[in-house]
Amino acid sequence: MVCAAAFGRSAPSAGGLLTSHGAMSEPRAALDLLFPTPALRIDLEQTSLGLDLAFAGGVAGGLFSDALDRAPVGPTAWKAASFAADLFVPAFVASCFTIGDGQLVSQKHLVKLVTSPPADPAVVLHRRAVVDELVTHPSRREALRALYTDLLRLRSMLEGATGAGKWDANRRQLDILTLVKKLFDRLAELPAEGASSSALARLSDYGERVLAGEPYRSLADLLRYDESMATLSLKVGIGADGRIRGFQLLSVEEDRQNPFVSSAWRRWLAKVELFVRGYRFGDGEVMARLIDAVFDGLRDELAPLVQLVGDLEFYLGALGLRDAAAARGLSMCLPKLAEPGEPRVLEGLWNPLLLASGVAPVPCDLRLDRHDACVLVTGPNSGGKTRLLQAVGLSQVLAQVGLFVPARAGCVMLGSSLVVSLIQETRVDQAEGRLGMELLRIRELFESLPPGAMVILDELCSGTNPSEGEEIFELVIRMLTRLRPQTFITTHFLAFATRLEAAGEIDELRFLQVELDPNHLPTYQFTPGVAQTSLAGKAAARLGVTGEQLLALIERNLAAAEPGREGQGRA
């Protein structure tokens, strides 16, 4: 069960939250779209204080993003450090989770969500239900989008009040309150429980609860008071030249039912009272006090809206990626969640990092008879092996957080962890050479790898001579199988891979090779088996590293260094 206490917060186990007044505030926590048991994950006290400051003077820049950045994202067994950088998750989120043309309020929060798959599968199912409802009912997605847009406007009005002194502070606050009312109205208009099959019903419940409360009624009364405290009926006299010559007041009607309306003398005395109490003398000060009182009643209802921004970015961002893929003819799906022993299937799998960089991904099909296989991927350089590993890794990540995977259809088993080693960078402060660093990574992998995890390794043991590297390679494979992980490893040790395939000593081993067309060019598809060549020569020729090409470069450099040499040669 996911609960607020499990998030490391001082909250009751029911998923509600203790307010500063000491009262239980269960309904506020209901504005949580990410977890089956609703929780208020943001720091309520800090956020409320920030809202106070922002409302008072717009001096809380970064209120929303700070609150979301600091918010925990639930218990997870995954370590982001083990895979996030190698899979370029921050860049993936930044470029692929788009909502319109705007920037995300908290990319950090979203990266944390994506790199922290929930430990409880119920959370995954909970999120998949929300995603499924949004896909099934486009109108609800549009309603959420409108809600998100208004939340961004609220954020902009609260945080972006620089130069607010140049205009009426009361007007700014009334504009904010008008938008707040609109937000609550929007929430209440969303499908209620019964009509909605997912956690989206919580939004409607929350909205209706707020609408039924005294603070909302006071808000509506105040806005009505601001709009039409009284109605004057005028008769306008027009002269023969068409100009207005005079006004005649026919009647004055005051909204006597409005609790904020008082008689003229009482309003005047109220101004005197405020003056004596140390405020300025004026109607604006009276209105400021009333605005304060109304906002004070709403403050606790507003903080959950900050959390809602993060939740909406999670779902709307994922839907934005799905839209972008569809625009390029690529499909995404909610994969079937497989049990151990079921085949792994990812049909039409594509790499979203390629989509983000403007390259058209070529979908491929990945079918394996079991999830706990150790897959050795071989093939020519630039044949798409590493891209395949990235696609598999990101698919696993997205499936684990309850979102679409970049595939037309799929069957994916949830893993207990993910370890990815795709980048082999040399760092200034590294203590070992390339092989040494690789061996250290292997050591770290075995130190913390739980059973049933996914392991993705690119060109294992490529930093030493093949014969010795193959020994370590085989050792690693044999040890890994004891933990029954889902393993994908690329290698150019083709002879070694062929030997392993032929020997058939390790049951979990499976082999995929890059498919080549008749011209020996990669099709970016993968077929069972071990590649016969890495086609390094072709890659060298494609990149200009043949003997002739290198000789031409040397000649050019010599000619540039000795200007007379070329002329002498001709002579």
Binding site: Q257, P259, R266, V276, G278, R289, L290, D292, A293, D296
Partner: protein
């Protein structure tokens, strides 16, 4: 703490938040700063309130003093006015037509039979009288009467009429004339008041002037009214208003192209009328010519007018006594 921003239609929760918004959080530094401002404003407001209250109290005190002064002035005016009957208050208006009539076409001499009795005229002239003398042209209109009365003084004609010289000789008459010329007529004719006295003093006892007192807006205006009342000849005005007889002397225009004396005297006719104020009845009306040409050179230069007036008075007395 209750606040005027809370209305009865607010829910208790909203009302509590509005009150909290006004009072602020006790621990916030901003709230502490505002409390200091509030304290300063409270003290300032206290000072302002005290100043306003002091001002209002001073105004009320000043207003009270003003009303006291007004009441005192009104009391004085009303006390003076109460000494006169309504008819007496209107004496100037009542006698003006009689003066104009005396200056109009002369209907002939008239002497009431009672006046012819020995000592009757003297007794009549001992009663309260208002006296006016003017040129016939000046006395032709009520407005002219007012102007003429302003310059009409107790002269030799009045003095010789009330206190006749023992002989109609120039030397004897000159004694009376000198007295008149030196202002001695006032002391010798206390029962006679000038019509001008009524014109000058009676307006201060009229309702219009009383209204000015009532409507006076400030102590300064009231002080000025008080000063004006104190300077007004109220005693002589009241005496004039109580007169029983009106004595009018009308100087007709000069006759012929004869010479004019240095003091403006020349041969002309003088009319004298004695009218009962209560009824308007004319008790005496006489017209006699005067001519300074018969006077000695020395007397004529300086006293022609007075001697002619005195001679006219003797002629009147003589005409009344003659049966």
């Amino acid at each position: 703490m209750p606040t005027l921003l809370v209305t009865s239609r607010m829910s208790p929760a909203l009302a509590a938040r509005v009150a909290a918004s006004v009072t602020g959080r006790a621990s916030s530094p901003r709230s502490a700063g505002r409390r200091l401002v509030a304290l300063a404003r409270f003290v300032g407001l206290g000072f302002v309130t005290a100043a306003v209250l002091s001002f209002v109290a001073a105004r009320r005190r000043a207003g009270g003093e003003l009303e006291i002064a007004r009441a005192a002035l009104l009391a004085d005016v009303r006390a003076h006015a109460a000494e006169l009957t309504p008819e007496q208050h209107e004496l100037p208006a009542r006698v003006a037509p009689w003066v104009v009539a005396a200056a109009a076409d002369y209907p002939g001499d008239l002497v009431e039979p009672e006046l012819r009795a020995p000592g009757a005229l003297e007794a009549r002239l001992a009663e309260p009288i208002i006296y006016v003398r003017g040129a016939q042209a000046a006395l032709a209109t009520p407005r002219g009467v007012v102007e003429a009365a302003r310059v009409s003084a107790k002269d030799a004609l009045l003095l010789c009429l009330v206190e006749p010289p023992s002989a109609p000789t120039e030397k004897v008459m000159l004694g009376r004339v000198r007295v008149a010329y030196t202002g001695g007529a006032e002391a010798r004719t206390p029962q006679v008041r000038r019509l001008a006295d009524a014109h000058l003093g009676l307006p201060f006892l009229a309702s219009a002037w009383e209204r000015r007192v009532v409507e006076a807006e400030g102590p300064r205006e009231l002080r000025e009214l008080r000063r004006a009342l104190e300077k007004a000849p109220l005693a002589s005005a009241k005496a004039a208003a109580k007169a029983r007889w009106l004595l009018v002397a009308v100087d007709e225009a000069g006759q012929g192209p004869g010479p004019t004396e240095i003091d403006g005297e020349r041969a002309h006719a003088i009319r004298l009328a004695l009218v009962e104020v209560a009824s308007g009845r004319v008790a005496l009306r006489l017209r006699r010519d005067v001519d300074p040409s018969g006077l000695t050179e020395a007397a004529r230069v300086q006293f022609a007018s007075g001697l002619d007036a005195c001679r006219f008075a003797l002629d009147v007395l003589g005409a009344v006594r003659k049966k």
